[in-house]
Amino acid sequence: MSYKEKGYIEPEELEKLGLLPPRERLEKGPIVIAECPEEIPCNICVHVCPFKAIKMDKIYEIPRIDWDKCIGCGVCVPQCPGQALFVVDLSKPGQALITLPYEFLPKPEKGMRVTLLNRCGEPVGRGVIVKAWQHDRTWAVTVSVPKDKWLEVRAVWIPEK
């Protein structure tokens, strides 16, 4: 079954489309992963990237990240209309950091403990918010996750108090 049948994409499909950065690059520092496999007519990410690290010739092509230019700043994360951009940082020992978009209540705050969800909404552990900032009401939440979960965690849920 492909992502169009399931509603979530497998890492193997991302790999096949050339959307996963090489392992050496991942270990060097933060880098964005575009989980945007369909040719949607949209080029917002190309325009918002301060480093001109996202390429697209025609408006409907899938975004191509220049792994050398991207510094994983995350500016694109809350601006992607498809919420398909995630920054992964594997350079720190012990934990991986993931920056993901979040548009729910309660408001995310540094230090909050959150439930980590995988691409099909299954809880896969607990994480801690290390940073949260907003662009036009979409939060970019950076959360620390167990290192082996970097390719799994794609959402967080903040339990209500």
Binding site: Y3, V48, L117
Partner: protein, 493 residues
Amino acid sequence: MVLSDYRIYEHPILDFRRGRRVKFYYRDKVIEAYEGESILAALYAVGYRVFNRSPKLGLPRGAYCMIGKCSSCLSIVNGVPNTRICIEPVREGTHVEPQEGLADIRMARKQETVETIKVETDLLVVGGGPAGLKAALVAAEQGAEVVLVNDHFVLGGQLVKQTHKFFGSRDYFGGTRGFRIAEILSKKIKEFDNIHVYTNGFAYGYFKGGVVGVAIHGDHPINLLVKAKTIIAAPGAAEKGLDFEGNYLPGVMGAGGAQTLMNQYGVRPGDRAVVIGSGNVGLIIAYQLLQAGVKVEALAEILPRIGGWFVHAAKIRRLGVKILTRHSIVRAIGSERVEKAVLQAYDEHFHPIPGTEKELDVDLVLISIGLQPDTKFFAQAGAVMKWVPEVGGLVPIRTWGQETSVENLFVAGDASGIEEATTAFIEGEIAALSALLKLGLGGKEVEARRGKLIDFLWNEYRMSPVVRRAREGKFKVTVSEEDMEKIRMGEYP
């Protein structure tokens, strides 16, 4: 009777800044509402769910489309029957009565003579959604006198309820939330002295000499007769209904109807929903229901694949919403409103598989199986139409410049075939540029601008494989000026 409160006070994206308090009467009850709400939204917010009855069997009718397209909510407002209370604003002291089936016209308020006003204009725009607003602005910028009529009391069409950031090109508001685009365009419209706006105005007919009759509703109803040199009609689309047992029950609603309630008026449409249909509308609404605090039990899609864009599906999947492909609804259960829904699995021939029924505990069944272009205006005007399933059904044949077979009548937006907001903006702009050329208000520059835009629309934007079906559909109803001349003469090329 103690009524409930379905208003949303905290939302991750929207701030509901409610207007002045307004009181009106429903039957003999005083209803407290806020200025800017529609009568239906205000009644829904305090717990009413049944607004009319079917004429023969007396079955309950609830909210369905919320945008004045269906006839589910017809009520008697200040003695006027058949009023669509979903697009009728609340006003202090208004008397609203439910209409039990067909109204008795003899009981209606004494027949008043409505004032008729005649105006002449360069361009009449029917519909204040993305296509209509863009068209009005483009024409006004070049100095045309524009009359804009809109059936809703708020401009913006369906942009007003779109809380997500739009895809697309920066040049056409890509990255901006839909309701913000409506605010930006509506504000811009006000800056032009040469755009004359009539809200609450329903274009009821096209007459000889390019005259359009517009019924303006409200405290001082007007019969507006607009003699226009050119007309751009962009009346949008309506949500399709689905045939299943119990589909009449209040709680079965167009997905867009629920979106209007929660995002435009800040009224929670229910507590637990099932969404039928996985096009972009269904996927987006499932996400927005979660943002409004509504639980989404499942999203069902009868086809083996998700219809909308993958990224929209991924957004709800990672929050745990189940997408059941090869499933649809067979039954809604309840007495005066939906209490349960039954889904069933379907095989590859679309036959239900026995023994796969699943009962869901829901109070909302949201139908998002597609939209249907609203083309009554074109049909009545005599435009040659064609049935094109790829774009939702019957649509007027048009030139590359958006002109229909009725000379000087242009079509733009979803009424020209279902696509989305970016193409509506572009079609609105192309139609306006064509109208300007007809009016003699545009020279070589306008012609070049139009050519560039048509090229971008057809040869770049619509070339995306995910929107190719719509492109193919539109291609079937778009003809050259020469072929359109033949169509006007009665031959079909």
